[in-house]
């Protein structure tokens, strides 16, 4: 059985560490994709379709072309060839396969039909507004009730073929029919839009047949491969740069159509082209979390033991593409139940393609299943924490294999203790404080763990500094700092001596920033690279004339605390690596590291997930129908936490997004023309500072030896899973109203009969 490394008290691993890129971020010196400037850059603004379904019959561009400063108005016949890309395994992933302008059919509102390019942004915008489009319009399909389309038993998805009967054991239907206690409810989550504050956008620069793109990407190597295919040039001719990323939450994982448009326009015009999309376009053309409608049926004994679990879900999909929202991701393993059936269907709508949004699948899925469990607890008159304890599985029953490291019950115990759960009285409206009705709720959560393939390079340099390079991205999760901590740990230098390079396809291929897997993925690659660099250093120490270790053999030497010393002797007699390199007149020694991925492995021997739970308090003022989330306590079992400061921030931030999911967030579509009508940050409501209560985060910190040497799983997404179910349960406890369609609105709560 694998084990994890012992970490010393002086190690930077596990220490709360302010971000190494913090000074750049707080002073405006951090350069995001749209912050780079190049002489002669032209600005591009797309023309958006104003229908969601139909055909573009004419695009009148003459007036726009005559406007001052305008270089071109592109459309299908003038943009030049943009080829389709083909996916190979985990490379070349894209959710909207159709390249921009490929045909004249309009399949969603806001689809790009033209592109204005001018010498300034203002002129490009004015020209785009001047372009007149004519359509043959058909009725958009935005039907809110989701009836599954007539799909085959196995459907193609972004991640390959998927059986619609996702998981089955025992006879769930029969067990449900004969169960002494039954629950049958349907839960609905709306279309949600990621809305990172950084707008997506690309600056494309051609030099001959070499292409550089500054783009906000969560997956630069994936984008490199796709752009090489779309523009029919060798992969090595494409360079993607994402030094800083204004987050993404999934919306920047795979390329969207604006990027190809910027590249195509730059190719035609022979100048750099900058295209930053508007906030309105962020609702139309760069993905969203699809709407889900999930029926959950639970059968249980009177004592609370689950005997049957059925989860049937339907989600919206685009007309052409096959993004899969895997709401059943956690259903089959989270609780012990002998009879289980998880199935899904899809319902086409005239929306742009959905895409992964933070905790894809599991977040809406756990909202439904955890809500159902809470309702069952109410029906059984059993404490919801106790109900979960009673149904704790010994193994992952869906695969028949053990968990690598599961401490879910300990999360519940710790969370309950910190929250004060034992003081809860279960009757609706029974708890009060300062004239407010209190509601308390709980829910569990889970999120997958594993590794993507990763490569890294570590250099020990003659000035005593260390450089670590990995072509991954820092989306705000703190990857710069994690890489610095890993390199500092191995090289035995303080953090400020480490230079981190990421966000550039010229660096060793790093993992995508998705699935909460970056930290887990880079650890073995960086450690191996550092070991290789250290081995080279030991060779230098023995082979360099005049070196203090000249007559020694490398195997007699050891490297620790940044120094080389003889194994048999004291560390304090060691020689710093900088001195050895200077002695050898070497600028640096370098090592490369490479680690295979485990994500998507065919037959895992253990089931790898993070677990956790959220306890939520809401306050309810019935006199004015005012609901607030007033307290959140989360307990998370995510393996070893490398940087608790940034780690807590991840869970807190997810809780903030969870408040939005439960109470505010919803993209609404106009039935006339199919437009997302609340496509701005005032009408699509997200939690602001005043919406957010005190949030307490507790990490269990059990290293998971199956993941990597440090036992670190990911924490970017798990915090959002389950929290909406905890909030809706707290709302029910306070108001007596059980909301099964998110977000909770005042209109729902007016049905409350709880008096103040």
């Amino acid at each position: 059985m694998p084990t994890t490394l012992e970490i010393s008290k002086s190690s930077p691993i596990g220490r709360s560490t302010p971000r190494v890129d913090g000074r750049l971020k707080v002073s405006g010196a951090a350069q995001y994709a749209s912050d780079f400037h190049f002489p002669g850059t032209l600005y591009a603004v797309p023309v958006e379709a104003t229908i969601a379904n139909g055909r573009l019959t004419k695009l009148e561009t003459a007036a726009a072309e005559k406007m001052p400063g305008v270089h071109a108005i592109f459309q299908r016949v003038t943009i030049g060839k943009i080829a389709r890309s083909v996916q190979a395994g985990f490379d070349g992933i894209i959710d909207e396969h159709r390249p921009p302008f490929e045909d004249d059919i309009i399949r969603y509102y806001g689809q790009y039909v033209g592109l204005a390019v001018a010498d300034t942004f203002e002129r490009a915008k004015a020209a785009a507004d001047m372009v007149h489009a004519t359509y043959e319009e058909e009725t958009p399909n935005i039907e809110s009730e989701l009836t599954p389309d007539d799909d085959p038993a196995e459907v193609m998805t972004t991640f390959g073929p998927f059986k619609r009967e996702q998981s089955r054991r025992g006879d769930a239907e029969k067990a449900f029919a004969s169960a002494p206690v039954q629950l049958d409810q349907t839960y609905v989550t709306p279309v949600e839009t990621h809305n990172p504050i950084e707008l997506q956008g690309a600056t494309a620069i051609w030099e001959g047949d070499k292409l550089t793109i500054y783009e906000a990407s969560q997956a630069i190597f994936n984008m490199q491969g796709i752009m090489a295919q779309m523009f029919e040039i060798p992969r090595e001719n494409v360079r993607i740069i994402t030094k800083f990323l204004g987050s993404g939450f999934g919306s920047k994982l795979w390329p969207w159509t604006h990027c190809a448009l910027a590249v195509a326009a730059a190719r035609k015009l022979g100048k750099p082209v900058k295209l930053v999309i508007s906030r309105k376009m962020m609702f139309q053309t760069v993905g969203h979390r699809p709407k889900t409608q999930q029926r959950v049926r639970l059968g249980a004994t009177k004592e609370g033991k689950l005997v049957s679990l059925q989860h049937d879900y339907v989600y919206t999909k685009a007309l052409l593409d096959d993004y899969h929202e895997d709401c059943g991701e956690a259903t089959a393993f989270q609780y012990g139940v002998p009879n289980l059936l998880v199935r899904f269907g899809r319902a086409k709508r005239t929306f742009g393609s959905p895409t992964a949004m933070r905790g894809p699948g599991a977040v809406p899925g756990l909202y439904a299943t955890e809500s159902a469990l809470n309702e069952l607890a109410g029906q059984l008159r059993i404490d919801p924490v106790e109900l979960r304890r009673m149904n704790e599985p010994k193994i992952d029953e869906s695969l028949g294999i053990p968990f690598s490291s599961r401490h879910f019950i300990e999360c519940l115990d710790l969370g309950a203790e910190k929250f004060g759960w034992s003081k809860r009285t279960p009757e609706v409206g029974s708890m009060k404080r300062d004239g407010l009705i209190l509601g308390w709720g709980v829910a569990g959560c889970a999120w997958g763990a594993g590794r993507f393939p990763a490569e890294a390079r570590v250099e020990l340099r003659d000035d005593g500094t260390v450089r670590v390079a990995c072509g991954t991205q820092d989306i705000g999760t703190g990857t710069y700092t994690i890489l610095a901590q890993l390199a500092a740990e191995k090289a035995g230098v303080p953090l400020e001596k480490v230079e981190v390079a990421l966000g550039d396809t010229r660096l060793p291929a790093g993992p995508i920033s998705g699935g909460s897997l970056v930290t887990g993925s880079v650890i073995p690659a960086v450690f191996q690279a550092a070991d290789h660099a250290i081995n080279s250093l030991l060779g230098v120490a023995t082979d360099t004339p005049g070196s203090p270790f000249e007559k020694r053999q490398a195997k007699e030497l050891r490297f620790a605390d940044g120094k080389v010393f003889i194994k048999a002797e004291s560390r304090s007699d060691g020689v710093p690596f900088a001195e050895l390199l200077q002695c050898a007149k070497l600028r640096q020694v370098a090592g490369e590291g490479k680690a295979e991925g485990t994500f998507g492995e065919e037959k895992p021997s253990v089931s790898k997930h993070s677990f956790g739970c959220h306890f939520v308090e809401v306050t309810w003022q019935p006199e004015i129908a005012r609901l607030r989330v007033s307290r959140i306590v989360s307990a998370i079992d995510a393996g070893r936490i490398l940087n608790p400061l940034a780690g807590r921030n991840q869970i807190e931030g997810a809780a903030v997004m969870g408040i939005g999911m439960a109470l505010f967030e919803e993209t609404n579509y106009d039935p006339r023309h199919g437009a997302p009508i609340n496509s701005n940050l005032a009408d699509y409501i997200m939690a602001v500072n005043a919406d957010v209560p005190a949030i307490e985060v507790h990490f269990l910190d059990y290293p998971d030896p199956e993941i990597n040497e440090l036992g670190a799983r990911g924490i970017g997404e798990i915090g959002l899973a389950g929290i909406a179910a905890a909030i809706t349960d707290a709302v029910h406890h306070a108001t007596g109203v059980r909301v099964r369609e998110l977000p909770i609105k005042i209109e729902h709560l007016l049905a409350s009969s709880v008096l103040g």
């Binding site: 890129d21 807190e652 500072n689």
Partner: protein
């Protein structure tokens, strides 16, 4: 087709940004935000919505915080404009900037320039001592990463430091 710098339609304006004067000729439709970013290459101020809804573009005009995306550059003749770059630099951080680093009051950092410009302005505004007051005063700046608790902590850390000498 004419280059912007030769444009006959441009408006001549002298902008004072971070204490430095810039004589420019600019399209009257150019917002202060786009002028700062695309013409003066002061990219610390960020565009998140272009509608005055997110606060990422917050700058100070004559000491007051404003959304620079809602203001035309050509209207700022004679105004003293301060951007994040004028507040402090990587090796010379303002106390609010240093507190943001210490408290991890960000994640991706994209809304951070606006948060810090609001926070620096807040120090001189009639904001009460309680966290709840700070939250209200900071609710014009959206942080999608949700670093709000740490943003409040960073601001309170600076305010406690400032108020201590007088109490």
């Amino acid at each position: 087709m004419k280059d912007q710098t030769q444009s006959q339609n441009g408006v001549a304006v002298t902008l004072s940004v971070n204490g430095r004067k810039h004589d420019i000729r600019i399209d009257p439709r150019t917002t202060l935000l786009d002028c700062l970013r695309e013409h003066l290459h002061l990219t610390g101020s960020k565009k998140g919505c272009d509608h005055g809804q997110c606060g990422a573009c917050t700058v100070h005009v004559n000491g007051r915080r404003v959304n620079s995306c809602l203001s035309f550059a050509a209207t700022h003749e004679g105004d003293e404009i301060t951007t994040l770059e004028g507040i402090g630099q990587p090796e010379n951080l303002h106390p609010v900037q240093a507190a943001f680093v210490a408290c991890d009051a960000y994640q991706c950092g994209y809304c951070t320039p606006g948060q810090i410009m609001s926070a620096v302005a807040l120090l001189e505004e009639p904001c009460g001592a309680a966290d709840a007051e700070v939250k209200e005063f900071m609710s014009g700046n959206i942080c999608r990463c949700g670093a709000y608790p740490n943003i409040v902590a960073a601001i309170q850390k600076v305010r406690e430091g400032r108020e201590r000498p007088t109490t």
